[in-house]
Structures are given as structure tokens and as C-alpha cells.
Homo-oligomer: 276 residues x 2
Amino acid sequence: MNNHPFDKALELQPAGSGQPGTWLGASSPAYWNMVGPFGGITAATAVQAVMRHPDRLGEPIALTVNYAAALGPGPFTVQATPVRTNRSTQHWTLLLSQPDGQGADAVVMSATAVTAARRQTWSANDTPMPATPAPSEVAPRVFAVGLEWLRRYEMRLVEGMVPEVWDGGGNDSLTRLWVRDEPPRPLDFPALAAMADVFYPRVWLRRATHVPAGTVSITTYFHADSGQLAQTGEGFLLGQARAQAFRNGFFDQTAHIWSEAGALLATSHQMVYYKE
Amino acid sequence: MNNHPFDKALELQPAGSGQPGTWLGASSPAYWNMVGPFGGITAATAVQAVMRHPDRLGEPIALTVNYAAALGPGPFTVQATPVRTNRSTQHWTLLLSQPDGQGADAVVMSATAVTAARRQTWSANDTPMPATPAPSEVAPRVFAVGLEWLRRYEMRLVEGMVPEVWDGGGNDSLTRLWVRDEPPRPLDFPALAAMADVFYPRVWLRRATHVPAGTVSITTYFHADSGQLAQTGEGFLLGQARAQAFRNGFFDQTAHIWSEAGALLATSHQMVYYKE
């Protein structure tokens, strides 16, 4: 499993004994998008920095990642700081930085996370998985574009594909797809954080128009604990994404991720820049 | 207008010329909730600290506030730092702290924000306001509980009131209500951030059971710019909130805020702790 491209992409070396929570990593060519790595892998790196911190309490329940600039090739530093530890919750701030070429470090990503020791309580899934064909009944999607990160996921699109004709004729922004790592890999919190960001920009679908777009901020809430993630294993997840409003350069996108068995594992929201 | 309780609650004094972006404030008795101020006023304080920073670029588009501990009575320090400034976006981190009683400061809230210089683009509201009676057709809600912050808002509940009988019989978590400041006050970004958090915990409605609950993290996306806020003025906003999943101590809550004219001003999401 440690030879999986996802695990290689998340490799972090401790920066040194005097800097607890500070890690050195490198941006992953295997997850390269257009001008930097796929944003999901950066979100996963934030989760990984928290997961590996020796003082961590509990498991992630909330994550917000702000993409301040495109991550460049080469090394980066990520710092995870537990700013407040309570009896059953812990609050984290994170910064990821790279050399700015002028001898200083520049912030590329800022994030916050909350981890918690969960207890069993009354529970209810109020967002049932929509009825869709099973993964085996949907053809794998081969993407025409040669983006490296797309090769790291097996996606089976149920509805809302990238438009094949950019004719300005769209009217809806809903995509549903089955997704898992390629090759398959047991689900964990970093992988779930990454998969919450696999949806292409809703503005392309809604307008059937190919405009520049990129995530500015994403928040993911983890409803699953590690036991539920282990039950999901290497199985497909059903992902759904939809925009709610497009206004003067920014739109939001709300997403849901279910296990194939129908458990809502995560809900996610993002604010996305778009041009024109 | 500066005598409005909301403006008084948001009063911030610069901490000193050597500490740009650091402000001194005090928690507001006028917005007191059960064990600290209403969370919305703390979120508004974060927005205010950004709005007043001399280096601010543009207007808020995204805000995440993590409630690390209950804010106590008395003074606090809030620090807003622009960690990255691009051509048209700016990324902020914020910390709010109070003396911990042992000679040090303890983090009570961490936050991130993104501000942006918006440009006019193709826009679309894909989440129309639900059909509801006008504010004048709905009776103002007088709350039986004596929480001070509830007196600072005029709320007219369209559906999904706090259960009158705690009989464990709930089956839905949807609330819709008209809301505005009491007395009325022109809408701005801090006020909108606060109003995104006026909904009582969904778990009470869903279960008709009164369990301890409190927001852990809230993210609000601002679709409106200051021009649209000015158009809304002192008018009522329609707020809607609904839970998506309850699982082992935490549930999420998704919210929408429209102007009375039907513009989607903000979308918001929060993760909430609950007991039992």
C-alpha cells in the first residue's frame, strides 16, 4: 500500500525536533492538474499533517482549505498547530508554504481543522443516496484531456459529464459519479478529503462554456469515523455536486459523498473563482 | 446607527501601532446566549476585524469560523493577518483569544477569510427563494426563553419552530424564517455573517428532544457584494436551515439566506456538536 501513488504524494518528513508539527513534502507530479497539483491532494496533505501529529486528539470532523496560490513543483513546508485542545475536541490551524524565489517563504495554502473523540449517540442519515445504476453498470470514463491527476481516479459518470460541445446551452449543474482511487486503495480521511474535490467546475456544465475556474476555498465535514471508512474499504463512492449561485466571478458548489452501501460519509462545499 | 447594539458589540480598538491587525474588543452582554455570546456575533467580529484592516483588498467572499471554546465575559483580543495578497484575492487568518486566568492567553476562536475584488460576469441564481408568506403575513415570534441575543433579532417563523412539546416525535429538520436586526439596521457583511447563524440546533427539531448542542465550525459564502447589501437595506431576509446527517455526536446544517426580493445573498454550512 505504501507504493500507492496517493501514499507517495502524501509523504512528509519531520522538519526537525525543534519544530513539532512542521513537515517537509514535495508537490506530486502524479497528481498534476493544469498549473499545479490537483487541489484535493493539497487538502489531503493538510489532513495528513494533522493525522501524523503526535498530539492529535480524535479524528477529523471538519476541514477548511483555502488555496492562496498555485502550488509549484518541488518542495514545500506544511505546519500543523493545535491551537486549542479541549476534553473531546481539538482545533488546528495549518499553513503550507513554498520558497517565493526571493529568499523568503510564501503562503500557498491556509487551513483549519477540527478533530474530535466521537461517542456513540442517536444518529440519522437525512440525505439518502439517490437511486443510481451500480458502478458495474456504468462505463468507466476515459477523459480526452491528458491531465495526470485524472489517471489516479477511476470515475464512472452517472450524469452531468463535462459537455462535449461548448455551445453555451447548459441549464443545470448536477453531476453524479462513482469514484475510487486507481489502483483501488482502502479509504482513509486524507483520501476522502481529496475525493470531495474531484468534481470539475460546475460553471462549465451550467453554461456549456469553457471558462477559467479554480477553487478558492473548500470545507469538508466528515460524518464517517475510521470504522466506517474501514467498512468502505476499496469500494466505490458515489459523489454528487451542484452549484447554488453564480455571482460576479465566484460560485459555490455543494457536494455529498456516500459509500456504495448508502452511508453519507462526507458533505462538502466550496467557493470557486470563474472568469467572464 | 453607531448606537445600534450590533455596532456597539462590534466595537474594536487598535491594540497599538506596533501590532497592525490586532484589535481589542469585549464580549457583548447584549448578545448573550447560554454560556457566552451568540456565535453569530463572534463570526461578525471576525468579519469586522478584516473590514477594518488598512491593507484589505476587496470584500468578503468566504469565511470559516471555528469555535474553540465559549467566549467569556470581558475583554478579548482579535488578530487578523493577511497571509497572502494576490492581484484580486486576499487570504486571511484570524485568532481571537482571552486571558486563561493563569497569566497566558487562550485561543477561543480561529478563523480564515477570503476577500476579493469582484468583477461583473455572467451570473445565475440556481437556488430560487421558496414560496413563503410575506413577513407582514407572519406573526413575530416571541421566544419563551429569556436569552438576551434573541431580543436583538426580529424573527418571523414560517415553518420549523422550536418544538413546543419535547416528545421525541420529530421527523424533519427544516426551518424557514424571516429575520432582521431589532431595531432594523442596514445590512452589511458582519450582519450577514451573524444572521447565517441564527438557526437553533437542528437536532432539537429533528428529534423533538432537547439535548445540549453547539456550533463547532461554520463556513459562510457571500454571494452578495456591498451594492446588493445596500439594496437590501433594513429589509427582512429569508433564512432556511436543514440538517443533512447526524452521526455520533456531530451533525451538519446547511443554510441559505435570501433578500426579500429573492436574491441569494449567502450560503452557509456548519458542523454542530450534540450530546446523546
